[in-house]
């Protein structure tokens, strides 16, 4: 553990409005929140920072009344608050603005703000005109222009957030929680948002502000609380902490024993991506992976890593740039072409994208190699089974029967089935997106060994991972994305957690094309 700047949340001197004390929350075996602490005082903007999986979102969802804590409690104005639903939290004066707000697309902006509380005339009929003028007045107070009569469908994310903020104000919310509001905004939208937040503060609201951009902490926030691995680490006045200290607090952890990739001599370039751009998602991403190499694509959630992988594989079209496999250019937007060229993609969400959960294990394994098990377009069950058995044995999938549904497997074994499906095609390039997310430690090591062996056998591996130890242990080279652009490239020797976090939070500057 690194040093603690303070043992308990350090008060800025104001009256505490909302205090979280030792919150605990688990989802099955996953302990999302082990010791959540937080103190929000009257009229402050309080940043909450931490790596992916630090427990920030879980903490927010407890405050929002979406989750009920297993232990610990919330104090609102010094009294214990136990929210059974989101509605209760709202009634208590708390408003949570999620990164991508949930609005009613078919309803007007004004009705989105006032749903259930529409102003009424005599006879309880809705006063549409007053509702619209009140909405317009709210937007005026926030200094933004949104037409209250237009449907919410088609609003930009920034505008959707502003609608939510207007709703929060109209409810007289005293505590406003913003979960990474700036992640999807353009710089001018961020600036506008901060002007709005400042207005809120002047009117007496307190704001919890979750962000991955550390510069925003210094520029806009009064205090900052750091979380790591589900625990409270420290709280500090923003002006009194350095970037380095904050990053140390975010990444410092007990070093886990992790499998490390065996060194291989990298061969010729297999996958070559140049100036790949998808408008509004990622820009000018270039990378190459050689035979025998594992290249990690690191960065925070939302940095555009999976999107880059999807574009390489042709699920999404690219707007500019090229993808080459063994020197041969790939057509944009064609997964079939990518597969023919020898690319395999093991997606992040194996339950939704990697597997057909209701199909049998053997069918799932053979799914990407149907040509090998069919005759005259008919699947021969015997062939399919032999084919699947060969691969599941090789990957040591633990299953009762190959004919049982893929949904019956544990997470780790499901991941092996997805890997088997793609390895069966003997790919030249293997893209794995969060290969060990949500699987147990033992299987994790197996997956790591497998990836290492694959690289040794000459496969070019592109690995997306949010886990820094995994990135550092496995990668020959690390490419860091920040907001859809390359923000750092490191060789194995240079890659350490601080350097990667620096780049991933946008502090290292961006690559200029």
């Amino acid at each position: 553990m690194t040093e603690r700047l303070s043992a308990s949340p350090e008060s800025a001197g104001g009256t505490p409005v909302l205090v979280a004390e030792h919150l605990v929350k688990s989802f099955g075996a996953v302990r999302a929140l082990i010791d959540g602490q937080f103190e929000l005082t009257q009229g402050e903007i309080h940043a909450l920072v931490g790596e992916n999986g630090a427990g920030k979102s879980t903490l927010v969802k407890v405050i929002a009344g979406v989750h009920r804590p297993d232990g610990g409690h919330l104090l609102l104005d010094g009294e214990i608050a136990d929210f059974a639903s989101a509605a209760e939290s709202q009634r208590a004066g708390i408003a949570v603005i999620f990164q991508e707000p949930l609005l009613f697309p078919d309803l007007s902006v004004a009705e989105n703000i006032f749903i259930e509380r529409q102003p009424v005339l005599r006879g309880r009929r809705i006063d549409w005109r007053r509702m619209q003028s009140q909405a317009a007045a709210l937007f005026e107070r926030l200094g933004v222009r949104i037409d209250p009569r237009r449907p919410a469908r088609g609003l930009s994310i920034a505008d959707q957030q502003l609608v939510e903020i207007a709703k929060a104000i109209s409810r007289q919310a005293r505590v406003i929680v913003m979960d990474e509001p700036t992640a999807a905004l353009t710089p001018s939208e961020v600036e506008r948002l901060f002007r709005v937040i400042d207005t809120l503060r002047l009117e007496g609201a307190s704001v919890i502000f979750i962000t991955h951009r550390l510069d925003e902490v210094f520029a806009f926030c009064d205090r900052v609380t750091v979380m790591r691995d589900g625990r409270y680490v420290l709280t500090s006045v923003a002006a009194e902490i350095t970037t380095e200290a904050m990053i140390r607090a975010m990444v410092g952890r007990d070093t886990e024993a992790l499998f490390a990739k065996t060194a291989t001599a990298a061969g010729e370039v297999v996958l070559e991506v140049e100036h790949l751009t998808r408008e509004g998602v990622f820009t000018d991403v270039s990378l190459s992976v050689r035979r025998g190499e594992i290249v990690a694509l690191a960065g925070l959630v939302g940095a555009g890593r999976s999107e880059v992988a999807r574009a390489i594989f042709g699920i999404d079209r690219r707007d500019a740039g090229s993808v080459r496999v063994n020197g041969k250019a790939l057509r944009s937007g064609s997964p079939a072409a990518a597969m023919d060229a020898g690319i395999a993609l093991v997606p992040e969400d194996r339950r939704q994208q990697g597997l057909v959960l209701d199909l049998s294990i053997e069918r799932n394994v053979a799914l990407a190699s149907l040509k090998r098990v069919t005759h005259l377009q008919l699947i021969l069950p015997g062939n399919e089974r032999r084919f699947a058995r060969a691969w599941t044995t090789r990957l040591q999938v633990k299953a009762q029967s190959l004919s049982s549904a893929a949904s019956t497997l544990s997470g780790g074994n499901q991941q092996k089935v997805v890997l088997a499906k793609w390895l069966a095609r003997s790919p030249a390039v293997l893209i794995v997106d969060e290969p060990t997310r949500g699987i147990d430690v033992g299987t994790k090591a197996e997956v790591h060994r497998l990836l290492s062996d694959l690289a040794a056998s000459g496969v070019a591996v592109l690995m997306i991972s949010s886990e820094l130890p995994e990135v550092i242990g496995m990668a020959d080279r690390v490419i860091v994305l920040f907001e859809g652009r390359v923000a750092g490239r490191f060789d194995r020797a240079e890659a350490d957690e601080d350097a990667i976090m620096h780049a991933a939070t946008g502090l290292a500057g961006l690559e200029v094309a």
């Binding site: 989101a86 509605a87 709202q90 609005l103 309803l107 449907p151 088609g154 506008r192």
Partner: protein, 352 residues
């Protein structure tokens, strides 16, 4: 940061695209008007061929003929707005119609208001069953009401056997509801117009009714906003049931005799009318007025075909084509509205 000025400049950038969006938006908003125009077109074209089509009697027939479906559409619209569907409306109508017929058969002097209360009651009961299954057991409404479509019809068949209640068993005052007129406007038409008017108004002006739209637009957001989703969906099914029950009595007054097959297949006619009337099949938008006009349009097309001597066999095919056309139209419109709305904001964002 003057957005109005920005919008002005944005229009310089792409005037045609914005204008398209504007027209498309208006089309969505004035769907009722579009249907009314289509209706006038059909009536006009048919009348050009045969002027009898616009005689008072013929127009009365058109209105009365569409009245029952329009009435059913009130409940169906509300259910569909909540992102559900009620397939049992035809069976509920049949059950209620047979109940009313039997009551009159055995008690020719049964008080008229009570008969309608009875029809309402049996429909309400059916609606409660549907609503409870959908909200308590969380079974998709498509499956629940497909099931109750057969269950209610089955009960009707068991109860009625081969029996038919003829017009001679019905009191004249009851038959008059189906055929009587006030100032040349048929009673049935008036009843449907009043029902549609009241429902349209309430869906626009009553807070709880706005929840129907919110739920259909985004169930998840509705839950987060603290809307009592299950209670509202339950209410929608109860309303649909009650309206279908009442429709049963109206149907009997119009057709004069009833057996166990009354209203068979009506569910699809109603859904077709609702969708042609501009109610989004996946919920969130639409009006009862639009749905009622949809019913009138489909019925009018049916009658027009007879008048212009096109084989009535074509009626189904044409109605189907109209349905597909209406949905395609919606898709095209919304596809041109949404990107244009997005262009508008991104142009704006870029200029802030």
């Amino acid at each position: 940061m003057s957005t109005a000025a920005d919008l002005g400049r944005a229009e310089d950038a792409g005037p045609s695209r914005l204008r398209t969006a504007h027209i498309a938006e208006s089309l969505l908003r004035w769907r009722e008007l579009a249907i009314a125009l289509a209706l006038l077109l059909v009536v006009g074209l048919t009348a050009a061929d045969n002027s009898d089509f616009v005689s008072v009697t013929s127009l009365q027939q058109l209105l009365s003929g569409a009245a029952v479906i329009a009435f059913l559409a009130i409940g169906e619209t509300i259910v569909i707005i909540t992102r559900n569907v009620d397939l049992s409306v035809g069976s509920v109508l049949g059950l209620s119609a047979y109940l009313v017929g039997t009551v009159f058969q055995h008690h020719p002097h049964f008080p008229m208001p009570l008969v309608f209360l009875l029809a309402l009651g049996v429909g309400l009961g059916c609606g409660v069953v549907n609503g409870a299954l959908v909200t308590l057991l969380r079974v998709p409404s498509l499956v629940v009401t497909l099931g109750t479509l057969y269950v209610f019809r089955g009960l009707d068949a068991v109860w009625a056997g081969g029996n038919q209640v003829g017009a001679y068993s019905l009191p004249t005052s009851f038959n008059d509801i189906g055929y009587g007129t006030v100032a040349d406007v048929p009673y049935l038409g008036i009843i449907a117009i009043v029902g549609v008017g009241v429902a349209t108004y309430l869906l626009h002006a009553a807070r709880p009714a706005r929840d129907f739209y919110a739920i259909g637009s985004s169930p998840e957001a509705a839950r987060l906003a603290g809307i009592p989703v299950a209670r509202r969906v339950f209410t929608a099914f109860v309303i649909s049931g009650a309206v279908s029950g009442l429709a049963g009595a109206l149907w009997l007054s119009f057709y004069g005799s009833v057996d166990s097959t009354a209203g068979t297949g009506y569910e699809l006619e109603v859904i077709a009318a609702v969708v042609v009337g501009g109610v989004a099949i996946f919920g969130g938008s639409g009006t009862v007025l639009g749905a009622a006009l949809g019913a009138l349009l489909l019925n009018t097309i049916g009658s027009a075909l007879v008048v212009v001597r096109i084989s009535s066999s074509w009626e189904m095919a044409l109605q189907g084509a109209l349905l597909v056309g209406a949905i395609t139209f919606d898709r095209i419109i919304s596809r041109s509205v949404v990107p244009a709305l997005q262009t508008r904001r991104s142009t704006r964002a870029a200029r802030v």
